[in-house]
């Protein structure tokens, strides 16, 4: 699976209250969630999100277990999140939503607006703008299978569902 997108660069410890404010938690429709991603934090996020890849520092998605953080990013058009490390619940939520979450290294050399190409199977991250490439941790096969199915629900539908 090959992913491409322009970089939205963020820092360390981006928490889920910033990604998706608690006051919108009663929303259950993904399209509606998307409209509140980074609300009050990054003013032009929604205009830039579609087709973009978030590149962040350590501990991305720390805090609340709210999966709306991952869902909102995905439905806002984010292609993948690459970070030095992820908070564990966000990581699981992202995979379960079918949003690729990849651990990469030396990401500080990637710039806002750069064009990235990610090979999910190899865990390889290439910066097409600068020509540099970065090592990433390849995802285990059973997690790749969830992403390729389009998320955990789609995968369970196939294995358990009657439809």
């Amino acid at each position: 699976m090959i992913l491409r997108g322009r970089v939205i660069k963020l820092g360390d410890n981006i928490d889920t209250d910033q990604i998706y404010p608690g006051r919108y938690l009663p929303i259950t429709e993904p399209v509606e969630m998307a409209g509140h991603a980074f609300e009050g934090i990054i003013s032009d996020f929604l205009q830039r999100a579609k087709g973009s890849i978030i590149v962040a520092g350590k501990n991305f998605g720390c805090g609340s277990s709210r999966e709306q953080a991952a869902t909102a990013l995905k439905w806002a058009g984010i292609v993948a999140v690459v970070a030095e490390s992820f908070a564990r619940i966000f990581f699981r939520n992202a995979i379960n939503q079918g949003l690729p979450a990849i651990i990469g290294h030396h990401l500080d050399r990637i710039n806002e607006g750069d064009e990235l190409r990610i090979d999910l199977h190899l865990g390889k991250i290439e910066d097409l703008t600068t020509g540099e490439s970065y090592p990433g941790d390849p995802l285990p096969d059973f997690l790749l299978a969830i992403i390729e199915a389009g998320g955990l629900i789609e995968k369970l539908k196939r294995s358990l569902g009657g439809g």
Partner: protein, 398 residues
């Protein structure tokens, strides 16, 4: 093997090694108001019945009573679902915060594997459970199959010694530890509490340590019990030793929980709102500590003190001890058991430029209202002392 390894090993019937992925049966699957989202996801899978209605617990606490029509629709959907599925362990608004109710009702127990759609599910490590937070979609999968995968975590052993100084409590200790370890200091890892002080801590203080270990990324944060102890030769990835004897009251400053300093350094900072409550510090002992300070005066002019008992039982106990009456007389606003304003849903949101000192668990930007507000986290003693003066106040100096 460490406690976390032993609990997982008991499920797979063999030794487990750090880093390997295991799939285990879940003993208890807990959700709160976000069960509405779990139901939405579950219904998409295309099966009719949950795997085991007796192992699902749903407790409405985050927006209790409902603050909006949207939430009311969600609550209604949950009530209809539990009826339809025969889920008897349903606690409607008013029982209190999910983690507190789970422990009070005896659901949480040593050696159990508990998953909850709430990050502070680590709280149940206080009674010896392997308990951790997951998202709503993953919970839908658990409702369908009763199973979940875990990477066997490495364990950090924290040895706690000494005696707490005057008006220094577990909240100050765990804030100190988070400050030392950092917001990702225990990421993907299990935390195990040892040492003479840990062993002698009452349950309410243990819950504070397990609960807030989430804020350094812990997957689980477990106390040993008679039933589950680590092996003599258990391997720890890291050992941390803390002596509390000289620990002054601690405070987490905006906008990260690991931004921790002694309260005295912030002394005099003007505060607009004080909140005492939450799954971290809304128990009867917390209310007693706050009352011990508050009864010496009254809430300062210009300060709003909001008190939220963590459960109905605690509320009733505090009523019978005269704490609620005394607090209300002295200017506090006491609201019903639940999460209250902790997660910024209702019952006391902050305006831009306002400052709040809370006994809750997160001080992230925007957590309790406006992203331009500031949140400080401290103990019930510190909160009450601050409510009295209107400025951040070290309770050990009062």
């Amino acid at each position: 093997m460490t406690i976390a390894q032993r609990i997982l090993a008991s499920r797979v019937g063999r030794e487990v090694k750090v880093g390997e992925i295991v799939e285990v049966d879940v003993d208890l699957a807990m959700s709160h108001d976000n069960a509405a989202l779990v139901i939405r996801q579950f219904e998409q899978i295309g099966i009719d019945r949950v795997w085991d209605p007796t192992r699902i617990v749903i407790i409405l606490d985050h927006r209790a009573p409902s603050e909006s029509i949207k939430t009311s629709v969600g609550h209604k959907k949950i009530r209809e679902f539990v009826q339809r599925q025969g889920i008897n362990n349903f606690f409607d608004i008013g029982y209190g915060i999910c983690h507190q109710v789970m422990i009070e009702e005896g659901f949480s127990a040593p050696g159990k594997v508990i998953v909850g759609t709430d990050s502070h599910t680590t709280s149940h490590g206080a009674v010896g459970s392997f308990a951790t937070g997951i998202g709503a979609t993953e919970m839908a999968g658990v409702w369908a199959t009763g199973r979940i995968w875990f990477r066997v975590p490495p364990t950090i052993r924290i040895d706690i010694t000494g005696r707490f100084p005057y008006r220094v409590v577990a909240k100050d200790l765990i804030l100190k530890i988070i400050g030392m370890m950092g917001a990702d200091g225990a990421q993907y890892k299990a935390v195990e509490f040892h040492g003479p002080l840990s062993d002698s801590l009452p349950l309410n203080e243990r819950i504070v340590l397990s609960n807030l270990s989430m804020e350094m990324g812990a997957k689980v944060a477990i106390f040993k019990t008679e039933k589950v102890v680590p092996d003599q030769d258990a391997e720890y990835e890291q050992r941390v030793a803390v002596d509390v004897s000289d620990l002054p009251p601690q405070i987490a400053c905006p906008h990260q929980v690991d931004n921790v300093r002694p309260v005295a350094e912030l002394s005099g900072t003007k505060i607009d709102q004080v909140v005492i409550g939450s799954c971290t510090n809304g128990r009867i002992e917390d209310l007693r500590e706050a009352w011990e300070v508050l009864k010496e005066g009254r809430v300062a002019k210009g300060v709003r003190l909001i008190v939220v008992p963590a459960s109905r039982r605690i509320y009733l106990q505090a009523l019978s001890e005269g704490i609620i009456e005394g607090m209300v007389e002295r200017g506090a606003v006491v609201i019903n058991p639940g999460c209250g304003p902790c997660l910024g849903a209702h019952q006391g949101l902050l305006a831009p430029g306002e400052r709040c000192l809370a006994t809750t668990n997160r001080n992230f930007k925007g957590r309790m209202g406006s992203p331009e507000a500031e949140i400080y986290l401290g103990s019930p003693y510190t909160a009450a002392a601050t409510a009295l003066t209107g400025r951040i106040t070290d309770p050990s100096q009062l």
